[in-house]
Structure formats: structure tokens, C-alpha cells
């Protein structure tokens, strides 16, 4: 039995190695996506185009305006003197925000009354608008503090973010991306390998040999597991060395987690491949699974923000657990005890999907 499985595993590796297309699938798309995500996907907003509508020429107003002008977050591109031109500039997306300082601002400040400024934001890009709003609030706050002098300075807040002190979004994205790229490669390999054999007719040839369905499954799982290890470690290394993401946790824990994660993914891939009749069907099914699974993983948007039913669904998703683990290991050096609540659900999912795949495999022969 072990000899038969060993032959199958050796064959899988030989085929992967000799087939230029499979090698490309494993190397090129993950690299391209890594570079893309690391460079292009960022939550930070800098140099946003700002319009000014200043109806007050006095000192206090000018001081506030100059603070906006000096901020790296904003870049003043236009000045207005009436609401119509403001409206038009926002409509045509010439500016992302407009700062409006009314006529009584300086007088109110001088008199010690509450003074108001207005910030008009383009809400069509709600995420960017929220971030700009918080930048503007920060500027106004620091202006207030400067006006209030020493007395208020004692209440000054110095926020300090743990694990990602500069709020570098790469630190947030790349550990998750490592997980996502690994599962894409694993799903494609396992789902396609059986579907391809079925298309070429070699699957029937396998089924008339003494190989049992269980042995075929093991023969297909082991190579995928090895590739998952290599792929995950390679991407993680690139994230650290090429993009400066810290890796403070345990390499052993990372690889144990990846092993459990890859097994659950292999199970999903094999279920797909035992149902799909052609490679096309297999690829489509993989993406049909991946897009919702990526959304429900917390990779880009926090799970805590989702409605309850969606949050419940994320518990069935192995990516969710691995993304949490990956971030924890990269940035936080979580302990095995902290990792355990993420590890066992993944292991359970793996058992279920692999068991289901085995059942489907033997059933299809009947």
C-alpha cells in the first residue's frame, strides 16, 4: 500500500515539475499579487485635494488655514468665494473636501464664544471621507490646544498603537495575503489534478489499478501539503525581507498552523474535484468558493462589523482562523495557548472536508 502511494506522490511531483503551466500557476500569480497588494492596496490617504472657502481674512482664521495647508494629508488645489463653485468642484470630483470658514470665525474666537468651521466631504468614497474627517479633526484639535495654551496641554493624549505603531497598512494586509495566496494555489492544484486526470482519461486508468480511493486521496494530499508549506513560507519571507513586515512570532507555530490550514483547504479542493467533471468546472467552482470566503475571512474588512448571520458564517471558513493566526504570529508573537482557539476549528473543518471528499470519491465509483 505504501509503495503504491509513494509511486503516486512521486508521479504528482514529476508532473508538476514537467508541466510548465502548473509551475507558472504556482509562482507567477502569487508574486504579482504580492507586489500589487503591497504597493497598491493601502488604506492611508495622503495629499487629498482640498478646496478652501474662506470668508474671514483675520488672523485666527488664517492660522487655522495655514495648519491645513501645512498638513501632509491635504493639498490645497482651489479657493472659492461662493457656494455654487464649491458645489461644482465637489460634483466634478476636483476636490475631495472643502474647508469652509465663515465670516464670524475670528470674531467668535476673539470673544471666547464657540467658533465653527465647516468641512464638506465627498461621501461617495465613504472610507476615504471618514479618514479625511479624522485628519481634519486632528488639525482642528491641535489648533484648539495651541489657542488654549498651557492649561489644556496637560490633557494632551498621545495615542500609541501596539503591534503596528505607525499604522502601516502593509503590516495589516501582507500577513493576511500570505494566507489567501496559499489557499488559492492549494485549491487550484488539488481541484485541477483530479479533474485533469478525468478529462485525459487517466483517472479511469488509475481506478482499474489496485489503488484504493483512500490511497488516491493520500497521494493527492501529500504533494499539495508540501507545496502549501513552500508557498506560505516563501510569501511570508518576501513580506518580511522585501516589504519590511516584522515576523516576531514562532516559525514552528506558523508552520503547524499552515499544515492544519492546508489540510482543510485540500479537503475543499478534493471535494470540488470529485464533483467537477472538467477542469473548467473545477476552476469555476474554486472561484465560486473563494470570493465569498475571502470576504468572510476578515482579510480586508473586520468581521466584527458584519451582521450577525454573516459573522456566524465566518466560523465555517478556515481562512478566517488562519488570517487571525497569521496576523497574530507575524505582529504579536501569540502563544500556543492563544493560538489553540483558532487551530481546533480549522482541524475540525479539515476532518470534515477530507472525510466528505473520501466519501464522495468512493461513492462515485459505485
Amino acid at each position: 500500500m505504501w509503495r503504491r502511494i509513494a509511486s503516486l506522490i512521486l508521479k504528482e511531483f514529476k508532473m508538476l515539475w514537467k508541466d510548465r503551466k502548473s509551475r507558472m500557476v504556482l509562482v507567477v500569480p502569487p508574486l504579482v499579487q504580492l507586489v500589487l497588494f503591497a504597493s497598491a492596496a493601502t488604506f492611508e490617504v495622503t495629499d487629498a485635494s482640498l478646496g478652501l472657502w474662506i470668508e474671514d481674512r483675520a488672523g485666527p482664521a488664517q492660522e487655522l488655514v495655514s495648519r491645513f495647508e501645512a498638513s501632509p494629508a491635504f493639498h490645497v488645489v482651489a479657493r472659492f468665494d461662493n457656494p455654487h463653485s464649491v458645489q461644482e468642484a465637489l460634483d466634478t470630483q476636483k476636490v475631495k473636501a472643502v474647508l469652509h470658514v465663515g465670516q464670524t470665525f475670528s470674531a467668535d474666537v476673539a470673544a471666547g464664544r464657540p467658533a465653527r468651521v465647516q468641512l464638506l466631504l465627498d461621501g461617495r468614497k465613504s472610507n476615504a471621507a471618514l479618514i479625511l474627517q479624522s485628519y481634519a479633526l486632528g488639525i482642528v484639535e491641535s489648533y484648539n490646544l495651541a489657542r488654549a495654551g498651557q492649561a489644556a496641554a496637560e490633557l494632551n493624549i498621545h495615542p500609541r498603537a501596539w503591534f503596528n505603531p505607525n499604522f502601516d497598512s502593509r503590516w495589516f494586509i501582507l500577513p493576511g495575503l500570505t494566507v489567501l495566496l496559499t489557499i488559492v494555489a492549494i485549491l487550484l492544484i488539488t481541484a485541477l489534478s483530479v479533474a485533469r486526470e478525468r478529462e485525459l482519461g487517466t483517472f479511469e486508468q488509475l481506478l482499474v489499478t489496485p489503488l484504493r480511493p483512500m490511497e488516491i486521496l493520500v497521494g493527492k494530499t501529500v504533494p499539495a501539503l508540501c507545496i502549501g508549506f513552500v508557498e506560505a513560507n516563501l510569501i511570508a519571507a518576501l513580506a518580511c525581507f522585501a516589504y519590511g513586515v516584522p515576523f516576531v512570532g514562532s516559525v514552528v507555530l506558523f508552520n503547524v498552523a499552515i499544515a492544519v490550514f492546508v489540510l482543510s483547504a485540500v479537503g475543499i479542493g478534493l471535494v470540488i474535484s470529485s464533483v467537477a467533471k472538467t477542469q473548467q468546472q473545477a476552476i469555476l467552482s474554486v472561484f465560486l468558493f473563494l470570493s465569498p470566503a475571502a470576504v468572510l475571512s476578515g482579510f480586508t474588512t473586520p468581521i466584527a462589523n458584519m451582521p450577525d448571520w454573516a459573522q456566524a458564517l465566518t466560523h465555517l471558513n478556515p481562512i478566517r482562523y488562519m488570517v487571525t493566526l497569521s496576523r497574530g504570529i507575524f505582529l504579536q508573537d501569540i502563544s500556543w495557548a492563544l493560538a489553540w482557539p483558532q487551530l481546533w476549528p480549522m482541524a475540525l473543518i479539515g476532518c470534515v472536508t477530507l472525510g466528505f471528499a473520501t466519501w464522495l470519491f468512493s461513492r462515485r465509483l459505485e
Binding site: 509503495r3 503504491r4 509513494a6 509511486s7 503516486l8 512521486l10 508521479k11 514529476k14 508532473m15 514537467k18 508541466d19 485525459l200 482519461g201 487517466t202 479511469e204 486508468q205 488509475l206 481506478l207 482499474v208 489499478t209 489496485p210 489503488l211 484504493r212 465509483l365 459505485e366
Partner: protein
Amino acid sequence: MPAPVTLANLGKSFGATAALTNVTAAIGAGQITGLVGPDGAGKTTLLRLIAGLLMPDKGTLDVLGHAATDRDAVRGDIGYMPQRFGLYEDLTVQENLNLQADLHDLDEAARGERFATLLQFTGLAPFTRRLAGQLSGGMKQKLGLACALLPRPKLLLLDEPSAGVDPASRRELWRIVRTMAGTGVAIVWSTAYLDEAERCDSFLLLDGGRLLASGNPADFTRRLEGRTFLIDLPERQRHRVQREATALPSVADVTIQGRSLRLVLKEGGALPDIAELVGSSTTARPTRPRFEDAFVSLLLAERPPVAAPAIQTTSAPSPDGIAIEARDLTRDFGKFRAVDKVSFTVRPGEIFGLLGPNGAGKSTTFRMLCGLLAPTAGSAHVAGVDLGRARATARERIGYMSQKFSLYGTLSVRDNLDFFSGVYGLAGRRRVSRIAWTIESFGLEAVANLEAGTLPLGFKQRLALGCALLHEPQVLFLDEPTSGVDPLMRREFWSRIGGLADGGVTVLVTSHFMEEAEYCDRLGIVYAGRMIASGSPDAMKQRFVTGDLPEPTLEDAFVGLIREHDAERQGAAAA
């Protein structure tokens, strides 16, 4: 009147592969021109060039008075029926016809008359409301033909219309097409069945993209007049005698035909001493040369045959005297009963053929016997093992080779052998020696390190058979092993199989090729899910000897058996 189609020095390549080189021919009106050749000979490419679906790279092509670049003018006059059923399976027969009529802008008046004629002509009138996907293989082809004939084409191109169709429907198709030719339509009928070439008015014989011969089939076979003989043989020696006869210098070709040996002499060759060859007193009867004989002698002149050495296997014969036993095998797919209580037995060393049209249930029976499919009811024993109980043990004793090349094309020949020897559990010395044996006896030394997918068809087939024999199986399953290959390759293949059978290996073959069936010791005819007859090819033919038909072919027997069966069932239904 000029010929409807003329081609001169026509060439077409796909990338680096030349599909057609330097073909010069003419296709006449009111005739059936057979486009004959094995798979990959270039038949479909030529048809698609004529239909205007491809543009030639070289040469000139004139269709109905228009050059290849100016095909739109005559598009309406060309009827083309592609190889695969080109109609909509989810529409009914009538809806398919309506759609085709709409596509050809037929007006209401013309339509009614045309439909009536074609439906009556093809015998599809009772089935107009049936979904096209639920028609039998033969009826699908007739519907395809009706659709191609709808706009009254002047040129009708048929791409392997008879492939996989049962012989009775095949004869129907010929009748329909023959009538069409009588009305002046030029018809091109492509086929890999060499016996069909003899029914054509003229033929174009393609091999590897080249035009090997053309003209009138009777003239083509007449060259061999006086050189073809039949020799009656005792049952158990046929393969040995065949091998010895092949080695004789005056003999061009030897094939097994039922219980006889068919001998084709070389040009000027003398008839060898039959008594010495066979070892008993028997004589050689002269027989009519066939198209295949002429094709083979042409091929032999070009490439001398590779001598296939006799294969000695050490697999032990089954102990109980029965190698394969099917008992009331039944298989349902949903409500459809694909196989209904099929029973038969095969003795060790016997070559047994399951013969039947596509969709009759022969593949389902075959798949149940090699353990790819579990029966709904009934049992199957192979090599002394009950497949229902010990499928894995049975698999160690069977070899399997399918019609499609089903090895790993990206791996080298040696990697494939390594892999299959491994999954069959061979190890150590035995593994090394079996691989060496395969490479040697199948002549694979020169290609051992090449990618299997890049090999020529003949080598692929040898490798596939070699892989199936690595573990010295007692029973060998062959799924249409030589359909569509050229006659020389088929001979080489079957001479190896003959050697195996002599060594005690039991062989089960499925086929819809009459030529393959001739190689079998016994046949089981599968039709509509049942085995309607079994026996030796000769015995089957014998039943249908009449005054008009002193030497019936296997196809005659097949058609006769199906008719008897249908009549019986109708009788039973009426009673």
C-alpha cells in the same frame, strides 16, 4: 459541366503540424466520394476547407465555381454535417428542423413540403416531438442529415456520419445518401471504416495528410486480383500460423477472419505450401480482394512492417476454467436500464468481443466487469474473484487499455512505466525486470526518455499496452483499442494480442468496428441493453447464408440478428 469541387496542390498546416500536403483531386456531381483514412489523416481538415470554415495555406480550391476567398456566394449551396452531433439536444426534432429552416430563410410554403419529404425520407416522421438528445445514435445522424439537406444543397459534406452507428442505421444512411446522389448532388462521405470505401463511386485515400490513392474503388482493388486467399484453420492454432505466415517472403499480409486466415500475396509472389504451414491437409480458396487489402499493400510498400515479437507472459491461467463470468448483470441509471440481465462466460485464453452500437450498453457492461462501475443487480467474477467482494484483489489480476490514450503525456515513457509498475505494487528485481521486458518487447528503447504525449500514435498504443501488461494480468480489458488507427497498426496490435491469448491471457474487447470483431474467438452482440446473441464470428455468419448471400459479412449477420430481435419483441408486444 465542371466538377463541383476541384483542388490543386492544396496544403494546410496548424502551427508546425502539416494537416494536408499537396492534395490534388476533383469531386464529381451525382456521386458519393469517399474520403477514407485513419484518424488524423486530414479528413476533417479537408472537409472544413471545402466548407469554407478554414482557409488553405497553399494551392487552389474551387468550390461550385468559386475560389476559396469567395465562398460567401455559394454558402447556401453547401450542406455540412460535422462529426459531432451539431444540433440542439434540448430541442425537439421538429424544433431543430424549424430552426435550421429559419437560418436558411426558407419561406412557409417551401418549408412544409420540404419537412414532409425529409421526415418521410429519413423515417423520423413518428418522432418529431421527441427531444433530439433522446434519439438513438443512428436517428441523430439521420436528423443531422435532414437538417443538412433542408436547403437543397448542391454539395453535401458528411464528416464520419456512420461512426459508432449500428449497422442497420448505417445501411439506412447509405440508402438516403445514395438517393440524394441520384438527384445530382455531389456528396463527400468521410469515414475510417475501410469497407465503406467499396460502396463509394470514387474515393480519396488520405494518410498522414497526403493523398495516397484516389479513383474508383473497384479499379483500386482489382490490382490485387488473384492474390487473395482464405485458408481454413483448426481453432487453437490461428495466431501461431498467422505469425509464421507473416514471416514468409511471398506473403504481404495475413489477417484472421473468423476461423479462417486471409492471405494477401506480394506482387508476383507464389502461394506458399499450405499443408506445411498448417500441418494438416487444407487448401487455399481464392477470395475477392477488399479495399483494405489494397490499402495495406500500398502502405507496406512505403513502410515495411515492424515485426511484433510474440509476447511470452508468465501469468498463470485461471484455475477453474472460467476467466470471466457475468451473471444477470444489470445496471440502472435513474429510471433508465442501460444493461438488462447480461450473462456470459469467457474461458482462459479466449478473445471475447462485446459488439454493439454506441449506447447499446456494451461500455456499461464492460465497465462493470473491470470494476469501474458497480452493478445494480447480478454478479461478476473475473480471474476467480467476485468483483462485488474483492474488487482490489481482482484489479491486481486485470489489465486495462482504453481507446483514448490514457497515460501521462507530460511524463516520459520510462516515468510512465515506473509509475504504473509502482501502483501495481511491483518492487525490487521484479519491477526492474518487468520494465526491461516491456521496453524490449515493445521496441521502446529509442523513445524511453521522450515525453509520451509527443510520440506517434503507434508508439503510444504500444506503451499503453505495455503499461497494461506490466503486472502480468490474467485478464486483459480492451476498450475499442484500434478504432480509427491505420490497418498496419491494427495488425501489429492484434498480432500481439494473439500472442498473449496463446500464452493463456484472457482478452475482453468492446468494439463497434466489424474489423476488430473479426479478431475475436467469440462475440456477444449487445443491443438495447441485452445480449441478443453470442457465438463465434463464423457461426454467426453461417446463420445468415442464403442463396443471394453465399458469403455474408459480420455486418450482414449483425443486421440480421438485430432484425430478428426487433421482430421478436414486436411479436411479444403484440401478443
